[in-house]
Amino acid sequence: MSGAANDFGDIDTIVVGGGVVGLSLAYGLKKAGERVLLLDEGDDAYRAARGNFGLVWVQGKGLGCPAYARWTMQSAAAWPAFADELRERTGVDVELSQIGGLTMCLHDDEMAERAAQLTRLRHDLAQAYPVEMWDGAAVRKLIPQTGPDVVGAVWCPLDGHASPLRLLRALLQGYDSLGGRLAAGSRVEAITPRAGGFHVRTTFGTFAAPKVVLAAGLGNRTLAPQVGLTAPVAPNRGQILVTERVQPFLRHPTLYVRQTGEGVLQIGDSKEDAGFDDGTTLAQLSRIAARAVRCFPLLERMNIVRTWGALRVMSPDGLPIYQASTRHPGAFVITCHSGITLAPQHAGALVDWILGGTEPQPLQHFKAERFDGMATH
């Protein structure tokens, strides 16, 4: 095996993966004074961070796992300060708005189902949970452009949205301004535990560091076992449409339609098992568009300027995987489905833990052991 390009002395932590999870961690680690090297595969990689919907979303999260609802609420609460910090450090406005969001319901049984979920979650949580069921009249009062087919909505005042691409740019610029090193276009091919740390072999040579944090999205699946961890994540495709820019009319984000700071209507999304195919299909796009038009009939006249598909990084139960390797101390795997929502937690609480702080209480629920014995494909 070839030697490393550096000695163990000059990098503290290698972060693998430059999506929103890897960048949040790398930025947080750098802020804490670590010497960090970030390795990212490149533009032809699967990159959920560049194709997602941009919601900072609380409602509906944590059904059957109140710890996840709490973790999400903590992150949503940390978002305003996080956005301010990024703006001060980089000048980039991530277009955060957290004035409350809605999930529109088009059928009474959908309302009933969501109401039942809400009751269960509120019971499990045993703490204040400000989510409400609204009837159609209440929804139309807040958003007069709502269509007649909307029978009601789930309202959560903690919900919001941000620009995912501006977030990536702010994190990267922040990381860079702190002196973080990035090797773009460096796919990690193998990681070998060594005395004192890890050798990380990439397309451009091998790097050594005492700590390695795997944040490679779908790439974690094959990387994690090399350092005594597991990450049984699988792709789940979402398709999205965006319109031309129009004057603002929709201040509140909804689960499937939001208007960005620059006036674009972003319309989502599908949940499909399509393997590693991140393309689009007319059938899904037209279904998504039709649902959006029922929510907001004025969308019918708008021009669609772009559509795309992107692959979610899904664990079998949809919850994050946060784990430190016991077999090879110094190795971590960090992956989740809601990387925008959870960015402040990743840059904050998780970084403190990686650097040796106490494990945040909810993390006991997010270990990959919960999948042991479960058949994963």
Binding site: R245, Q247, F249, E262, G263, L298, R301
Partner: protein, 101 residues
């Protein structure tokens, strides 16, 4: 400098348009963009984000810098739309309205 037609001596059929409330003479076969440039319209729109002025750039449907409102329909590519008798053309300031015919 204003745009000028190349007079080829042909007797093209005149077509009457209204641009920002002003009667304008065009010729059958013109695109809306060509007709507007020929009568000296220099700024077609302002961009939604920065408000910077824009005029047709490519004249072949690629750049979307020529967007105008045609007969109440916003964000129409002037360079891809043939003129028609009585067409009403308005300039757009900033983003289009969300509603609109």
């Amino acid at each position: 400098m204003a745009w000028q037609r190349i007079e080829d001596g042909s007797d093209a059929v005149p077509v009457r348009l209204v641009v920002e409330g002003r009667p304008v003479q065009a010729r059958a076969g013109d695109t809306v963009a060509a007709a507007m440039l020929a009568v000296g319209v220099a700024v077609f729109r302002e961009t939604p984000v920065s408000g910077a002025p824009r005029a047709p750039l490519c004249m072949m449907g690629v750049c979307f810098d020529c967007l105008v409102e045609v007969d109440g329909r916003p964000n129409v590519q002037a360079c891809m739309t043939p003129v028609a008798e009585g067409m009403q053309i308005c300039l757009q300031h900033g983003a289009r309205r969300p509603e609109g015919a």
